[in-house]
Amino acid sequence: MVTGSDEVIRLRDVRKGLYDLSGKTLNRGIPVLSDINFSLAKGEIHVLLGENGAGKSSLVKVICGAIEPDQGKVFIEGEEIPANDPGKALSSGVAIVSQEFSLCPNLTVAENIALGREQIGAGGFLDKKTMLAAAAAQLARLEASYIDPSRKVKRLPVAEQQLVEIAKALAAEPRVLILDEPTSALTDNQVDMLFKVVRLLKSGGVSMIYITHKLKEIFEIGDRVTVLRDGRTIRTIPVNEVADVGEMIQMMIGSKLENLFHKEACPVGDAALVVENLVGRPGDQAVDLVVRKGEIVGLAGIVGAGRTELARMIFGIDKYASGRVEVFGKTLPPGNPRAAIAAGMGFIPEDRKRQGIVPLMSVAENMCHVSARRLSWHGFVSIGKRRKLAADYVSRLKVAAASLGQEIRYLSGGNQQKVILGKWLSANSRLLIFDEPTRGIDVGAKSAIYRLMVDLARRGAAILMISSELQEIVGMSDRVFIMRNRGVVATLEGGSIAGDAILRYAMGGEELVRGS
């Protein structure tokens, strides 16, 4: 069904280096995309597959003009489009449902859907009635009529915001629709609805690029699949030629699963972290949790289950309503990260750019943010000691940086993560909370992080790991706590830790029957 003649999009030799939020290339030496050749045929659903950080989102951003490639060209229906001009891509019929939040929270649903092609009525004034009606019509297509188009987006829950994003893309009547993980925040019913719409669009001749982490979705709607790894296209094949899920994972990861984790059993000691009856907001379930020395404890659950919130309360970033947190025998005062750090706790946050690093500061400085006091003499930083300590951890963690003085924002995600880890290790943290430790990190660095975690556990550190990647939870954890609706619903241990069981508890009720 796929021939070269009716291709709508063609990418030729596209390269892009590490870039910042505005799309400006920071470092050409760290490629996010290299030598990408990609084509999208008319009326096909082309699935992009790859691990976090493989370059899927960057690739579609190039197509829709959000970022400018350092090299290479983008053609839409044979016509080269200027880089970095989202307006041009839009008017050529490319619409995207972005993974990043692209709605304006201060505007209403209808205004967001209309933005960029607003309905103009008499006298050049906005035709608000038509806008509302058009928005309602798009939402109805997704059977989401319960969303009030006149509500402000910031007042909607995440799943509804996601549906608005989709409705906004549909409203553009695109010829090419890019869906970047559209289902991650949706319930199963909403996903079914989305797929119905997707099939309808396809029969109408719309081509789609579909990015997902849910492998079964590929077989459900995909025509062709392109696998990306480390910014390169590994292979493009029709979906019906793919043998099974295992083959795809194999292509994505590039190595056998077992080799990735290096998990070994470590001697377990006393309790490092004890959480008793912790209630975040009145009405939440009380959470009890124990992490012992030498253990890696997984914290699983779907997005929004309250895992990060729990970790933030334990660490003292946020306050809690009631309960007790005890670290190495000491009860921590609520809402005080300094006390947590003093007690030996460390936190590797989920959002590296916003919570983990200070982008403008050097590798050495970032490495010593926590241990600064120890390295100082009456408030003066010993530059020599700092360099020595940073150099020590850079070599121990194998951080690839041009120099200790290099600003950390020029490093790749994996190396930034290693520096953050080094920051806590150098401060003698013996209880570490990892929140999505390998998000957006390439396979090599991933494996290195896992090796470091196991090594830490062997030396008696206690680790609490939040992860949305099932393989990671299954591969790394000695015990797993599963959260749902801001409470712990189950604890699995040893041999009972399995992907399907975790999913069942994490999703709850109806999914249990469906037996995913």
């Binding site: 280096g17 290339t25 943010h369 408030g379 930083v381």
Partner: protein
């Protein structure tokens, strides 16, 4: 060559040094009497007040999230009035006809300096409290302080300037140590001290971290609010020191002293390579920026060009300096 250029461009002070050299060179060639020791020293001493204020303002800008202090000029005004009123007995204060010659009572002068700096720091503390604890945007908080402190200065002095300070205080403004004017020596000393604090102490590190990424700083257990308040206090203190220098130089305290100085000081900071986004910047650059502002004023004085042309030139140069800085950053990105 290319790597040498890149190395030079990696310093945030590069554009301002370049601008100073260009302007000095042009003036040296075209302006008579420019390149004399006396004139150059004069340029430096004229920059001292703004330079010292710019040091404090640089720290505030580094603290990030729109950090700015519009009240520095007003704090200068109120603190110098407080100083003069502590020294000058009330019955003599209103006596504007005669230049007073007051005895050098060192205890009184000490008390006056303490009050002066105390008022500066207190105003700064209020700024910091409004920003860190109440959560007001720094622009608004310090704008209100700018109005209020100026009003206070006029209120306590009844709007009347006072002349005649003790000779030992005037010495601070008008004399030289060896051949360096005292204000310049003070500016350089303060710049070096704050530079060391900023680059070599844990406090400086946490300030840069708080300005560069407030969330990360919280996760690292830093005292974010305390750091924020401290920079506004320091800025108030330096505005008060600027007030001492200005009063000593002119041998008077004027309730309108320092109007518009905060904007010159902000320009100096930005000219010196401090980013309005926060998290990066340096006080040495800020002082160079202040020197530059006084440098471009100098030929205007020497050539008898109307003072009014000074501001457009200043404005244009600020824009050029920022464009240069954007270009510099682009060039120094490693590939």
């Amino acid at each position: 060559m290319a790597t040498a250029l890149k190395r030079i461009l990696s310093f945030k002070e590069a554009p301002i040094v370049f601008l100073i050299l260009v302007v000095a060179l042009l003036c040296g060639v075209f302006v008579p009497n420019f390149l004399t020791a006396a004139n150059l020293v004069n340029i430096l001493s004229q920059s001292a007040t703004v330079g010292i204020m710019a040091i404090g303002i640089t720290l505030v800008i580094i603290s990030g999230s729109g950090g700015i202090d519009l009240s520095a000029g007003s704090i200068l005004g109120v603190s110098s009035i407080v100083m003069a009123m502590t020294i000058i007995p009330p019955e003599l204060y209103r006596d504007t006809a005669a230049m007073l010659v007051l005895p050098n009572d060192y205890w009184v002068i000490f008390k006056a300096l303490v009050f002066c700096m105390g008022v500066g720091m207190f105003c700064g503390f209020l700024n910091g409290a409004m920003v860190a604890w109440v959560g007001l945007p720094p622009f608004i908080a310090t704008l209100a302080m700018m109005t209020a402190a100026r009003g206070l200065a006029a209120y306590i002095s009844a709007g009347i300037p006072t002349y005649g300070l003790p000779t030992s205080l005037v010495w601070v403004g008008q004399n030289s140590l060896w051949f360096v004017p005292v204000p310049v020596a003070l500016m350089i000393a303060l710049a070096v001290i704050v530079h060391i604090i900023l680059t070599r102490t844990t406090y400086g590190m946490s300030l840069l971290a708080v300005g560069g990424n407030r969330e990360t700083s919280r996760f690292c257990g830093m005292n974010v609010k305390g750091t924020l308040i401290s920079v506004y206090v320091i800025c108030g203190l330096f505005a008060a020191v600027g007030g001492v220098i200005l009063s000593a130089r002119s041998n008077q305290a004027h309730p309108d002293a320092g109007i518009g100085y905060e904007l010159s000081a902000i320009s100096a900071a930005v000219l010196g390579g401090t980013s309005m986004m926060g998290g990066s910047g340096g006080v040495l650059g800020a002082v160079l920026g202040a020197v530059f502002l006084s440098l471009i004023q100098n030929p205007i004085n020497l050539l008898n060009i109307p003072v009014a042309y000074m501001k457009p030139i200043m404005g244009a140069l600020i824009v050029i300096a920022v464009l240069l800085d954007q270009w510099r950053k682009k060039q120094s990105i490693g590939d």
